[in-house]
């Protein structure tokens, strides 16, 4: 079995490559033309395919002999238009190329950001409401681009009869990615901890990568949409405490009840910022909710569909994130 992985040298991608290799799956790793790969330590069996989804005219060649596409590439920096062009238009071009190939199996990396947190009550799962038009366009550039990426991919899959699996990870954490937007608001070295007892929908990057490799190989994943979290998640106060201790970053933590924070943001928005066009995300109630709303998160469907349990527990994940670095690739 051969897998094509886009965004293969990214934070998640490099771990997905390792997880696929660990399952004996051949990997063709798509990376951008200027990407530096030396530090990844990939074995020679990893076939590197250099292309930029925004402009490359060689994408069809990438699918030669490929059984499954794992599409992880997305633009997560730059302005809203740059993210849309890189993530959505790039996906259109990639899937156009796939349509001209024999590959019929696709695993897409989506995100919790496609869910409409504002309309969700108590538990967020795969049946929770997604953003709708036109409200989605009031969200941040990342959310708009990922929501559209999923929309485009579902359309292609329906049109061509592909086997599609959509995986929606929560906050992915790991080495050099320990700080999460769910932790509240940083003020220099200090932290406003909004809703300190809220649980974080989190998945360690190695656990998350294991789900992608499992979904690529397991026929039970076909046609499924699965949220990817390691479990109910750690509470913000505990994870932030571990983060500060393990990363050696001193600072104060000021706990603020969620209800007080969201009430303040709503009041400020209603009175001052409603007509403003460029306001920091945390001051817009719906964006505030998508980062910090206290909900329950679970991975029941993932466990039931794939029989998956996270290979690493929380303490092991902490050690992998903040302890001595492990070998670069392979398991």
């Amino acid at each position: 079995m051969r897998a094509l992985v886009t965004g293969a040298n990214g934070f998640l991608g490099r771990h997905v490559v390792a997880a696929l290799l660990g399952r004996g799956i051949e990997v063709r790793a798509m990376v951008r033309p200027a990407a530096r790969l030396e530090a990844l330590g990939w074995p020679p069996s990893v076939e590197v395919f250099r292309a930029d989804l925004r402009t490359s005219h060689q994408l069809t060649r990438a699918f030669e002999g490929v059984d499954v596409l794992l599409h992880l590439a997305a633009v997560v920096s730059g302005g809203e238009d740059a993210q849309f062009a890189g993530t959505v238009v790039g996906t259109e071009r990639l899937l156009d190329a796939m349509a001209a190939s024999a590959c019929r199996r696709l695993v897409l990396c989506s995100t919790f950001s496609v869910y409409d947190y504002s309309s969700t009550r108590r538990t967020l799962d795969e049946d929770s409401p997604l953003h709708k038009v036109p409200d989605v366009y009031a969200r941040d550039g990342y959310t708009i681009a990922k929501w559209w990426q999923e929309r485009v991919t579902r359309r292609f899959a329906a049109q061509h009869g592909w086997d599609l699996t959509i995986l929606r990870p929560g906050f992915i954490w790991g080495r050099d990615h320990g700080y999460l937007a769910a932790l509240g608001q940083k003020l220099g070295r200090h932290h406003l901890v909004i809703g300190p007892l809220t649980r974080i929908p989190m998945t360690h990057v190695e656990n998350c990568a294991d789900v992608f490799a499992a979904a690529a190989a397991d026929p039970r994943a076909r046609g499924q949409t699965l949220n990817v979290v390691d479990g109910p998640g750690e509470r913000i106060w505990r994870y932030l405490s571990d983060y500060m201790r393990c990363s050696g970053q001193p600072g104060w933590r000021l706990p603020i009840p969620y209800w007080l924070a969201i009430a303040t943001v709503r009041l400020a928005f209603a009175t001052v910022f409603r007509r403003a066009t460029k306001v920091p995300s945390i001051l817009i109630p719906r964006r505030f909710e998508s980062r910090l709303k206290p909900l329950r998160f679970e991975n029941r469907k993932l466990r039931e569909t794939l029989g998956w349990t996270p290979p690493l527990d929380y303490e092991q994940c902490l050690a992998r994130t903040y302890g001595p670095a492990a070998p670069a690739a392979g398991r």
Partner: protein, 345 residues
């Protein structure tokens, strides 16, 4: 009037947001090669139709005005097709890749009885318009010289200097800086008139995919001189406009709202710098606040584009004089042509 737009990328957002606010303008269709981009923009701005073929859009929608907001090398063909479909064309700068193409486009517009309007947006920002008002009132005195210098970091990995995906502007003579020459030339043309002669210096300070990252030009205009420049290395980002008149001088940063004047005062001559300094400080403090507030609301530094469109549509509807005339477009681009480097490095 029925408006349509081709090229739903970054700058299109400003055009569409403005068009939604203009009375008497029906935003009828958008077009982009990417179906998702076209559909997303149509949903976002409540546009009833979207297309991936501009010819299909022109035939089906029959717009009165077409906005061309694609990368510059495609402007010529799209504008030609729009004239053939009987539409006026508002085109992003630079209107064409070469002056020959522009002349052909202007000729076609004239034959079709339509207008070609290039987006000289910074001309219509509040600061240049206020300076122009004082010139017209006689308060400023005749302009002797204008300086326009854009300091902008375009060497970052996500823009013009993206090592993975060559930016379309890099195919223009002068590379990424050519994308800014119409801004420099349109302001020079506004204050000192048509170009007569020019000297330029094109250099490269830092390694990057860009052929040049620094430009200086000295232009002799029909009413005065202009010193024009672009620096990718000088920081912070700024868009300096300085206009020198026989009675007054003005300085503005068009990325902000800062605009100061210095001129005659009813005080003893030795005290003039003191009172000028006090007033300038007060003006800059006020501008600091308005610049901050502008970040929260409205088009920001694109205010000139909104003003240009707000003046253009009524003029097109009434057959009145346009804020950017065919002659303006030709003369600005004649200056742009003279500023381009003779050869790529």
């Amino acid at each position: 009037m029925k408006a349509a737009l081709i090229g739903a990328g970054q700058i299109a957002r400003q055009h569409l947001a403005c068009l939604k606010t203009l009375p008497g303008v029906e935003l009828a269709a958008v077009c982009d090669l990417s179906p998702a981009t076209a559909e997303a923009v149509a949903e976002r701005y409540g546009v009833p139709a979207w297309f991936t073929s501009h010819l299909a859009m022109l035939e089906k929608v029959r717009p009165d005005v077409v906005h061309v907001t694609t990368p510059p090398t495609s402007h010529f063909r799209l504008a030609m097709d729009s004239f053939d479909a009987g539409a006026h064309v508002i085109v992003e700068k630079p209107a064409t890749s070469t002056f020959d193409e522009l002349q052909a486009l202007a000729q076609r517009a004239q034959e079709a009885g339509r207008h070609l309007i290039e987006d000289h947006n910074y001309v219509f920002n509040r600061a240049p318009q206020e300076i122009l008002r004082r010139i017209k009132s006689g308060e400023f005195g005749a302009v002797t010289h204008v300086e326009v210098l854009i300091c902008l970091d375009i060497l970052g990995p996500n823009g013009f200097a993206d090592p993975n995906s060559p930016h379309p502007a890099l195919t223009l003579a002068g590379g990424a800086i050519a994308d800014f020459l119409p801004h420099l030339a349109s302001l020079a043309h506004l204050f000192v008139g048509s170009y007569r002669a020019a000297q330029t210096v094109w250099t490269k300070r830092k390694p990057s995919p860009l052929p040049f990252d620094e430009f200086r030009g000295l232009v002799e205009g029909e009413r005065g001189t202009a010193a024009l420049g672009f620096s990718a290395s000088s920081q912070p980002d700024a868009f300096w406009l300085r206009v020198y008149g026989e009675r007054m001088q003005a300085a503005a940063n068009l990325f902000e709202t800062r605009l100061t004047f210095d001129g005659p005062r009813n005080v003893p001559k030795p005290l003039r710098p003191f009172f000028s300094g006090l007033e300038e400080g007060k003006t800059i403090r006020r501008a600091a606040l308005t610049t901050l507030l502008r970040k929260f609301k409205g088009p920001g530094a694109y205010e000139g584009l909104w003003e240009l469109l707000a003046r253009t549509y009524p003029a097109l509807a009434d057959g009145a004089a346009l804020p950017v005339t065919a002659n303006d477009v030709l003369e600005v681009n004649r200056m742009v042509e003279a500023l381009k480097p003779r050869e790529q490095p």
